[in-house]
């Protein structure tokens, strides 16, 4: 997983299902590894493979016409368990951006902490993306983090997206939260010594 993000032009993989929870993204029985690598092979495991481990033909990741580094999904993506393995699986599979009209909080943090960009768009814009991919599975999307824009290249429709300035800087420069927190050591120790109730 690359440790920064700035700009991307790619086709996208559409999953127009709402409330995709992290148990679907990576089922619990695949959480036994003690490293961060290799979770991509079990991404959407039970939607991708049947009980005999054969690929399910009707699932989008098994359809070669859909590919790219962007995943587009229905609202409330990443709800449920806090497992960061979901973000690791998405990144390990090769996605750098996830687009939805609504993200669960913990997943959003986990994605950002792994240099995967979650982009929230309106329901209407999300529909337009799904329609563009339906019309042309190779439809290109362009993400510009600096300008905070997402463009459907074929139609030129462009959405502005929000990201907090701190996380934006982390993504562009490849910083992580621990680097910043470690720089606050003196402040943390001062806080500890001044606290009356330090259970």
């Amino acid at each position: 997983m690359s440790k920064n993000f700035q700009h991307l032009v790619s086709s996208a993989v559409p999953i127009a299902i709402e409330n995709i929870d992290t148990d679907q993204i990576i089922p619990a029985r695949f959480l036994k590894a003690t490293t961060r690598e290799g979770f991509g092979e079990n991404l959407f495991r039970d939607w991708r493979f049947d009980s005999d481990n054969q690929p399910k033909k009707d699932f989008v990741l098994n359809n070669p016409i859909y590919k790219g580094q962007i995943l587009v999904a229905g609202k409330n993506f990443g709800c449920g368990s806090s497992r960061e393995h979901a973000a690791w699986a998405i990144g390990d599979y090769g996605f750098k951006v996830v687009i939805s009209s609504f993200f669960a909080d913990i997943f959003k943090n986990n994605a950002l902490n792994n240099f995967i960009l979650p982009i929230t768009v309106t329901d209407a814009f999300l529909d337009n993306i799904f329609k563009a991919i339906e019309a042309d599975p190779a439809a290109q999307l362009e993400v510009d983090l600096e300008k905070q824009t997402l463009k459907i290249v074929a139609t030129g429709e462009t959405a502005q997206f929000d990201i907090n300035p701190y996380k934006k800087a982390c993504l562009i420069n490849g910083y992580d939260d621990i680097d910043y927190l470690l720089s606050l050591r003196k402040e943390i120790e001062t806080y500890e010594s001044g606290r009356e109730f330090n259970f």
Binding site: A16, I17, E18, N19, D21, D23, Q24, P27, A28, R29, L31, K32, A33, T34, T35, R36, D46, S51, G74, K75, N76, C79, G80, S81, S82, R83, E84, H85, A87, F102, A104, D105, I106, N109, N110, N113, N114, D123, N164, P165, Y166, D176, D177, I178, Y180, L181, L182, L184, R185, E187, I188, Y191, E192, R195, E196, F197, N198, F199
Partner: protein, 465 residues
Amino acid sequence: MGKTLFDKIWDSHVVVSKAGFPDAVYINTHFIHEVTSPQAFDGLRKRGIPVFRPARTRATADHNVPTIDQHLPIKEALSRKQVEMLTKNTAEFGVELYGLGHPYQGIVHVIGPELGITLPGMTIVCGDSHTSTHGAFGAIAFGIGTSEVEQVLATQCILQYRPKRMKIEVNGKLKKGVVSKDIILYIISKISASGATGYFVEYCGEAISSLSMEARMTICNMSIEMGARGGLIAPDETTFEYIKGREFAPKGADWDKALAYWRTLYTDADAQFDVVLTFNAADIEPMITYGTNPGMGMGVTQHIPSLEQLDEKEKPSFKKSLDYMGLEPGSGLLGKKVDYVFIGSCTNSRIEDLRMVADFVKGKHKADDVVVWIVPGSKQVEAQARKEGIDKVFEAAGFQLREPGCSACLGMNEDKVPAGMYCISTSNRNFEGRQGPNARTFLASPLSAAAAAITGKVTDVRELV
């Protein structure tokens, strides 16, 4: 203007607040378990740094442990390795571990409160979304990812933006056969699985404040199932009474000082919430879910929505969900056959849950073709159940009392519901495959689950109590 309870606690834990940056928030207590911590310890090793405040982190093994024969080595190689890794990491970094065989071992959100580690006014995190459970004590408690576990191990702080505040008030008294699990399933069914995303919830009202601590934990536990960052309840005499005398609770002069502080932990009368929702306890029936997210719930006598009642855009996800469940839109669930009953998880595995089930099943026997698993939340809960003779009641009813762990709540160990089978479960999630590949879950209260165990089908428990 006054402050909410949430803001009082948050403000007193902000170490650094800078414009454009998330707040650096100090964490009083950090719980870890075997599944979401190994990569965090690896991160510390790579950076060559120690755990900053090892005494503030406590570890247990719960997610990936067997619930029978815990005295024997774990059979499954990957699970054994993961649990061994926790032992190695905690020893190397000086963190206290309540591992398998320890009298304090159990589900992380059960043992924190029962040991008196969880206290009012604290900030508490854990690499598990059900950390919201600890909010029942008037604490800010929420689940985090593994990168954040590493942050807390490294600095005892976490970077967070302040969430918005939501108040959920439940007025009046619960009817017979309706318990705290039904309250929270009812709320989630009303506001959906994403209805509180971005918010921290405070629960209040007569129906909440009249609950025991264990029943309050059930409510706060499922805050995440409506997307909330967490949920809390102002501490009161019930809270203080529960904490007093527990293993790690303050004692003597420390207790008096702590108590004086805890009594300041309430939302001021003129504090503002971003959203206020009000419900009436008398409207709540015993609840059951029919779909594949916890928002898809209804009163046990009601019918699943028909397709005509839905927006066009909701239909594909709804149909996918009901196909998975093998259920028809517009149908009811009363009388639907169940194959498994699971009573356990951080939502409902405490001694009061087991007592409630035992009181109900005493003198009764399970239906022939139902498998009933009772998985206590901790070694202490298990020991207490045996002391009270509850184990004998379960044995006579044909229920299996197993050993503590997360078990069939998440289908990570071997406790899985077979494909296609229906399980009525006291856990918190009915996601596809949650209890095993292609397993089908009905979420319900311990009382409703016990009723189904006896009749072998979805039952309105009010007819039996």
